[in-house]
Amino acid sequence: MATPVMDKAEAVAKSQASPYITVTFRIRRFNPEVSDAAVWEDFQIEIDPKERVLDGLHKIKWDVDGTLTFRRSCAHGICGSDAMRINGKNRLACKTLIKDINPEKPITVEAIKGLTVLKDLVVDMEPFFQAYRDVMPFLVTKGNEPTRERLQSAEDRERFDDTTKCILCAACTSSCPVFWNDGQYFGPAAIVNAHRFIFDSRDEAGEQRLEILNDKDGVWRCRTTFNCTDACPRGIEVTKAIQEVKRALITRRF
């Protein structure tokens, strides 16, 4: 063991050294105005490993190549705009630290799969949102509007708490191999948002939503591969929610 004095000197030297390291970003580029073929392009940038992948993309777009195209809005893991496939796994670029994904090797960044790529990392989210709209993600009630709030016990609220966390980033749906095939499957995100209302004690259209998800492209196409649960940046137990919808379909009818 070294003396305390040397430790201190080392610490000072370390704090003065640059925190920046050289990281290679290998980005899947696609520009339909140039070619129908997508190509990998490498960018080497200096970046603090404690920064996020999104910061790296910003650095590239702002300082290196302005044609790089990607979506992001809040940049803090709430809006769900910047879901992308980073090192082969669907994540939010704004919640992934460089140091957590081995910056020694090139970091691959590509668009999420199963949706049409419009340019670089931007995909057409319309099929995804169409599936979301199809499950009627809003409160449906009968009778007159109450004069007070619609009250709910803490236990009833707890029943669907997990699925209220969804930010519609499409990380789960675009990680689902069944969705990759023809895009007709409702996808985990739509089922999660149906689950949020099916198990809400205040809602009265659960039966209707269950019938929608009983479709041949509904919950029965789920193969429980757990890709969605692994991909969810909000930690929602997606596969469990899908299984609960399946169970409700069987037990509520027979």
Binding site: N31, V34, P177, K216
Partner: protein, 157 residues
């Protein structure tokens, strides 16, 4: 724009998109109208899903019992012969056992392959042909097996 942009994304292969040759478009999921949508195929997918679970449980018992009797107990595989099979099929219990195993295993396997085809075959035509082949083979095997179990003649020479 061409010179700078193309050099920025490296060598370009394939054809160029324009208004007449747009980028491929992924079909949107089913369009829905009306208040109470009826699913297109009734509850077939749910029935198939339930059948897989239930037949799976029954098959575990049937198949493990079958393997034990045929391969492990009472002298193992060496005892199997025409006489052994004839002796078992003389009893209605084993006839029903084998018939149930045949039907459940074939339907279970066929349904599993059907979902695999649905998941992996991308073109409608490929699906149609693969499923046609699958259903033909399944029906043929089930009918032939059933015929053999019911018309088995131990005195055949």
């Amino acid at each position: 724009m061409s010179a700078d942009t193309s050099s920025a994304i490296g060598p370009v292969e394939g054809s160029v998109y324009d208004v007449d040759n747009p980028a491929p478009y992924i079909e949107a999921p089913r369009k829905r109208t009306g208040k109470t949508p009826r699913s297109t195929r009734g509850n077939f997918e749910m029935a198939a899903w339930l059948f897989m679970r239930l037949s799976g449980i029954v098959l575990v018992v049937l198949v493990i019992g079958h393997l034990l009797i045929q391969l492990v107990l009472d002298g193992g595989v060496s005892k199997i012969g025409f006489a052994f099979v004839a002796g078992r099929w003389a009893s209605p219990f084993w006839q029903v056992w084998d018939l149930l195993m045949l039907w459940l295993a074939m339907l279970h396997g066929a349904n599993g392959l059907r979902t695999v085809i649905n998941d992996y075959a991308e073109r409608a035509n490929t699906r149609l042909w693969l499923k046609g082949l699958l259903y033909t083979a399944t029906v043929f095997t089930i009918l032939l097996g059933t015929l053999v179990i019911f018309t088995f003649d131990p005195n055949i020479r």
